[in-house]
Symmetry: C2
Subunit: 272 residues, 2 copies
């Protein structure tokens, strides 16, 4: 797939979601933000329902999601698919593109997707000038690792009911960090088929499970607009055995950890 690049203009003076996310866990210096904007120079818009990275492709670019959702998946011979993870605004698609230019899993969009595109070389430059950003990037990778680990636990050892509740909570939480949801509902541009493929269930069963969650007063789905409303977050967390802390909480560690992010100078004094 050929992607047409245009220059990126951040809308109404807001920071791009990646910066929001990083700033959420570790307040950024002015110059770090400026430096991060270098990853946001070129953008592209990709239609809904497009496979824009295909297993086996050689692609040495990374993408930052600005708006919309994408997902990484694997197709099996019998036509089944398994969604591995979602890319929400602020997430980096192909974070290892520099060292693993061969795409191992396809990536597709669930909605119109706006991304910024950068060459991984930019990262190297960025990191050598701002080593703390390298660590923050590492934090982000670690967070994605945890998130995928949780997907393993969901699929391996949770019932359909708990699985579904758990996923909805995670999506809600991730959107909250970048500030694009309200008190208790969010816009989820996904079909039940995709949910089924995420949770390793059949479409029939995910439909029944969602119905059950609604009947029990735990969630509310507004069909047309694809809004999901979590009616009783505490109860959902309890049902799903949802542990929030795998997603953030580097914040309070600065004092307990001798070489924490806060101690590292944001600007390197290495001579180039």
């Amino acid at each position: 797939m050929k992607i047409k690049l245009i220059s990126y203009q951040s809308p109404n003076d807001e920071f791009p979601p990646l910066i929001k996310k990083l700033n959420y866990i570790q307040p950024l210096a002015e110059e770090e933000i400026v430096a991060l904007m270098k990853l946001h120079e070129y953008s592209a818009v990709i239609d809904e329902g497009t496979v824009f990275l295909e297993q086996g492709d050689i692609r040495d670019r990374s993408f930052i999601v600005m708006e919309g959702w994408a997902y990484r998946y694997s197709s099996l011979e019998n036509g089944n698919q398994q969604v591995i993870n979602y890319y929400l605004p602020g997430d980096v698609i192909s974070p290892f593109a520099l060292v693993m230019p061969k795409v191992t899993y396809s990536v597709a969009t669930t909605s119109k997707l706006q991304v910024c595109v950068f060459e991984p070389d930019c990262l190297i430059k960025l990191f050598s000038e701002y080593p703390r950003l390298a660590l923050l990037y590492g934090w982000m990778l670690g967070r994605e690792d945890s998130s995928m680990a949780e997907q393993v636990v969901r699929l391996g050892r949770r019932s359909a009911f708990k699985r579904t509740a758990h996923l909805l909570l995670e999506l809600f939480h991730r959107l909250k960090v970048i500030g694009i949801n309200d008190e208790n509902f969010f816009h989820a541009p996904i079909t039940q088929q995709l949910l089924a493929d995420t949770l390793g269930l059949s479409i029939v069963h995910i439909n029944r499970t969602l119905k059950k969650l609604q009947k029990e007063g735990l969630i509310n789905l507004s069909k047309q607009k694809k809004e999901i409303c979590l009616l009783d977050i505490e109860k959902l967390k309890q049902i799903a055995e949802y542990r929030i802390y795998y997603l953030d909480e580097i914040k309070n560690l600065n004092t307990t950890n001798k070489s924490s992010l806060a101690d590292i100078p944001s600007r390197s004094n290495v001579m180039q």
Copy 2:
């Protein structure tokens, strides 16, 4: 858990498995190997069946497995466990320790485990001197990402039979890279209970599945010594839809990718 450190002595002049693994995908320069040995200064031995990292702990060390197996897992309220991934010789436990000192998932040993222990600060020094090693470390993280993604696919969309075959093939392959298995069999220090917890199955069912694999002449288990013999690797791969390439194969990319690992000077000329 308190871990007692001793100095590390590599046995009979062999390279440590991490170096073997990195060298396998990208031949290392002499001085890079020397530098990597700095991560191997201190070692520790941990008994079989020990939980040595516990969810919630604050630990800012990383570990390199020298010998034996460990695994990362999550415990649920009903007593069930889900294994997320295995750490085999050459694998790094807690690769994100510097930026995520809070342990998100417990790690335990399946056998007597010898590890080398390093402070993540060492990594920073290492990477600033030898930037290519930073990329190789990144490659390793990307590989682990793929491996966990495959675990998601196994659990979500494969039958017990295919799942089991697939996992055995992956373990076999990973051991092969570090050169500790023979033509078609390997030593796997795991119980059926652990296999069940890895594959999201009950112990009864994993037992029956292994029996079926044996009956069909695909594998052979020597109970006492925990050796697993793959009798027909090609057929197993076909059954499991096993795709090897998510595990290695950076090798041949040097020509197609303009900023490949091979092009990057092994020694940085950055002034410290």
